[in-house]
Symmetry: D3
Subunit: 194 residues, 6 copies
C-alpha cells in the first residue's frame, strides 16, 4: 500500500457521488478550505457514509450540556487509546480550534491526567475511556462518579455514546489506513486569547 | 439498577415515538413475535436510533459474498471478545436460525477456533477479531490472509465494518446495561436438517 | 484434527477400561441419559481420571454453605474467563438445571455483573475470578469482602478451590480440544417455576 | 495475616490426621528431613489433600519420556508465570537436585529463553507456558512444534497436564498464602558434577 | 499539583546551580531560544542530572550509522508506547526539525506502521518497541530481522540502548509530571523543502 | 548465541579498557572476589559504561532515608516485573547480604506482597512497581500513599528514580542477554543473625 494514499480502498470521483454526499463535501470544503479525507474515504460506500455522518451529527452537533470542545476531547482521548492516527490528528485540530488552545489536543491524546483541563473534564474522560476500553465493567459506581461532578445521566449517555461511536470510527480508519489531511497537523496551533 | 430492567435509561412508550420508529418496531414484532430490547432501549434517543439502524442495515442486509449466517458469526465472535451479553444472546439466536445449527452460536461466542465452521470462516473471524481488538496493527498481511481464502477486498471491508459497527453496539449495550429478551436465549436451539 | 472429534486423543473403548471407571460412566449415563465427553476423553489416562474426579467430587459434592447452583456459577464464570467451550457448555447446562433458571448460565458465562443473581453471589464470583485471573494479588481485603457478605473463611476456600480446580480443567479441555456433547447445549433451557 | 504463618488457614496437628495422610508426611519427612508446608497446609482438607497428591503423583512420578528434571522445569516455569512463591521455591529446589545444577531453577523461573537448557527443552516450556497462559489458542501448530523436537503426542499430554495441574496448585498456594519452608531456598545450591 | 507547574518538585534557581549545569543550560538556551523543562526539572538533583545528560549524549550525539532523525524516531515511538507527554512533545519537535518533515512526529508517536518512513525504519522501530515493551522475549530472530534491513549488531545496540534510556526518561517524566515547554508543541510544524 | 556467553556482544580485554574503567573493575573485583558481568558486558561501550555507573552510584550510594537493603528491594522487585535474569540474580545476592536475610530476595522478586518485609516497605514497592509498569497513571494519590508511611517527597523521587533506572538496566540486560555470574546465585544464602 502506498502510505501517502488516502485509503487502502478506491476513492470515488466527486462526479460519481450521490448528490447529497457531494453537497455535504462541498459544504465542508467551503467551511474548512479542504475536504477532510474521512469524507472521501468513506464515500466508497455511500450508504454507510450516510449512516455514519447521520450518527456523527446526532452525537456531535446535538444540544446538550457538553460543550463542543468537550465532545472533541472525548474523541481525542479515546482515539489516543485506540492508536487511531486519523482521528487524533483531525479531531485534535478541531479540538484546538473549539477550545482556542494550541496545546490541549496533544495533552489529551497522550494522557488526559496531565492535560490543562478541569477535574470535571478529567472525570468525563475517565468515563469515556472506560467505555472505550472495558465497557463490560461499567457499573452504577461509574455513573455516580459522573454525578458527583454535576453530570446528568443524559450527559453520561452523550459521553459514552461518543466514545462508542469513535470505537467504530477508529477501527474503520485503522482498517482502511485512512490518512489525515496534511492541513490538520498544523491547524489551530497558533495561540489565541481565550 | 434493577437487573431485570431493559436498560439503565427510560424506555419510551410506543405512543410517544416518531412514526417511522414505531413502524419499524411493529414490523419486527410481527416477524419475530416480540420487540427486541435494542429497539426499545435505543428509542430513548430517536435520532441516534435512526442512524444506528440505517448503519446496521447497510452492513447486515446488503448484497455481497458473505452469507447472512457469516455476518452474524462476525457479530457473535466480536461481541464475545467484548463480553456483551445482549449481542451474544440476541445475535446468537439469529445465527442459530440463519445457520440452521443449534450449536454454532455458543461455539463462536466462546472460541471460534473450536467451532464447526470452515477454515475460510475461521480466517474471516480472525480478521474480524483483529479489527475488534487491535485494529492499529492491521496491515497488508491481514488482507493477504483473507485473499488466500478467496475473500475480495470488498469482503474485507464488510468483515471489518461489521466488527467496527459492533464495537459501537457492544459498548452502548454494556454502558446502558441492555438486557436481552428472554426469548432470544432459547430461539433456534432445536436442531433442523441443514 | 476433526473438529467433531471428542478429543485430540484416542477415546478408549468402554470394554478396555478399569472396572471402577466403567462403573462411574454407566452410573452417570443412567442419570443423564448420555456419557459426558469429559469422562470419555479423560479415560485416556485412567490414573489421572481417577484423581480428577476424586478432586472434583471433593469440591462439588461436599457439604457446605454454598448451594450446588452457586458452585456451578463459579465453574461457569471462571470457565468463561478462560474461554473453555467444554466447561461453559456442560456446566452451563448443569447450572440451569440446579438453579431452575434457563437464562442464568449465559449471563454468568459472559458477565456476572449483568446476571440475575444476588449481590452476595456477585461478591462470590468476583473472588473466584480474582483467583482465576490474578491469584498473586489476593490479599486480606479479598477475604474481608467475602466476610462482609456473610461468607466464612471455609466458604472462601471452597470458592477459591473450585476456581483453582477449573483452572486445571479448562486448560486440559482446551489443550485436548474436548468437545461438549450436543445434549448439553439445550439442556435446561425450558423455564420452570422456581 | 502473620506473614511467617504457613497458611492463612489452620494447620492440623499430626495426631488429628487420617492415618494415610500422616503416613505420607512421615515418609516425606524421612526422605527430605522436614515436612514441606504444602502437606501441612493442604491437610486442612483431607479429602482434597488425597486427590491433590494422587493427581500430582500420576503426573510427576509416572513412566514416560520426560525426565524428572524436565517435569520440574515445567513446574518452575509455569509457577514463575503465575508468580507463585511456594511453587517456585519448593520445586526450584527439587529441580536443582534432579538436574544436579545449582543455577537452573532461577533461570527457568525468570526466563526459560535465557536458561542453560536444550532447544528441545525450550520448545517443551514454550508449550507449557501457552497452556498456562492462553490455552484457548492452542492449536495443531503447537503439537507440530513439539513433534519437530521429537516429542510424541503422549509427551504433549504430559507437558500440558503438568502445566494445568500447577495452574491449580499455584492458585491454591497464592490464595491460602502458603509459605515455602526455609530449607527449600538453599537446597541444591552447591554445584555437583553432572 | 498545579498542572501548569514544570514539575512536582522544586525547580532550582539558575544561580544556585553548579557551574557546569548552568553552562549547559545557557548553551541550550542560546541554541533553542529557551530552556527545555527537562533541564530545569532534573536540576533538582544535580548529580543525577549530570549522569542523565552524559548518558543521553553518549547515545544521541555519537557517531554511527543511524541518522539523528532516526534516533529521534526511536525516542518518539517508544515514548508514545509509554504515554510520556514530555518526551513525545519535546522530541517530536526535534524530530520534525531533523527530518524537515512537519508530519512525521505525530505519525510515529501514534503508530509507526502508518508513518511516511521507509521499511528499514519500520524494522528499526519494531525492534525498539520490543525492547521498550517486552525485552524479555528478545531473541536471535530479532537481531536477524534487523540484519535483513542492513543494520549491523552495533546499530542494534544503538537502537535498543536508546529505547532503554527513554524507558528511564519516560518514567522519570511521568513520575515528576514534567511539563513540556509550550514552544515544543509548535516547533517545526511549517513544511520545508527536504 | 552461546547461552553461556556473558553477552551477545564482544567483551573487551581488560588491557584495552580506559584506565578509569579498569580501575573500577579491579576495585570491585577486590571487594567481591570476582568481576560482575555487568561491568564486562557494558565495557563494550566505554562512554555509556561511564554514564551508567555514574547514574547508578548517584541513586544507589547517595545519602538518604532509604536503607541500602531497601534500595536493593526496589531493584529486585522491579527486575522481577521485567523478567530480567541478570538483575534479579545479581541484585538478589546484594539484597541478601545487605538485609542479612537469605530468604528475602526470592520473596521480593516473585511477589513482594508475600515477603517478610514491613507494611512501609510494601508501600515503597507498590510505588516502585507502578513507576515500572504504568508510570502514566501516577498521580497525587500515589505520593499521598507514600507520605502515609512516613516517606518524604524526596524519598519518593529516590524510589521512583531507582525503578526508572532499572527500567533501563533491565532492558539493556535483556537485549544483550547478559548472563549473571555463577557466584551470585549462591551468595548470601547462609542465614546470619540479624
Amino acid at each position: 500500500m502506498n502510505t501517502r494514499a488516502i485509503s487502502r480502498y478506491p476513492v470515488p470521483d466527486m462526479t460519481e457521488l450521490p448528490e447529497d454526499i457531494r453537497a455535504r463535501m462541498l459544504e465542508v470544503q467551503e467551511k474548512a478550505g479542504f475536504i477532510p479525507n474521512v469524507f472521501l474515504a468513506l464515500a466508497h460506500r455511500p450508504e454507510e457514509f450516510t449512516a455514519f455522518f447521520a450518527y456523527h451529527d446526532a452525537l456531535m452537533l446535538k444540544e446538550g450540556s457538553l460543550t463542543k470542545a468537550e465532545r472533541e476531547m472525548i474523541v481525542v482521548a479515546t482515539s489516543g487509546a485506540n492508536d487511531c492516527l486519523y482521528c487524533i490528528v483531525a479531531h485534535g485540530a478541531i479540538l484546538r480550534i473549539y477550545a482556542k488552545d494550541p496545546l490541549i489536543a496533544d495533552q489529551v491524546a497522550v494522557n488526559y491526567r496531565k492535560a490543562d483541563i478541569t477535574p470535571r473534564q478529567k472525570a468525563m474522560l475517565a468515563f469515556a475511556l472506560k467505555v472505550a476500553l472495558e465497557s463490560n465493567t461499567i457499573g452504577d459506581e461509574d455513573f455516580a462518579a459522573l454525578r458527583a461532578h454535576g453530570f446528568s445521566d443524559e450527559d453520561a449517555w452523550d459521553i459514552g455514546a461518543i466514545a462508542a461511536f469513535f470505537a467504530l470510527s477508529n477501527r474503520m480508519a485503522n482498517m482502511i489506513a485512512m490518512r489525515p489531511n496534511d492541513e490538520f497537523f498544523t491547524m489551530g496551533r497558533t495561540p489565541k486569547s481565550k
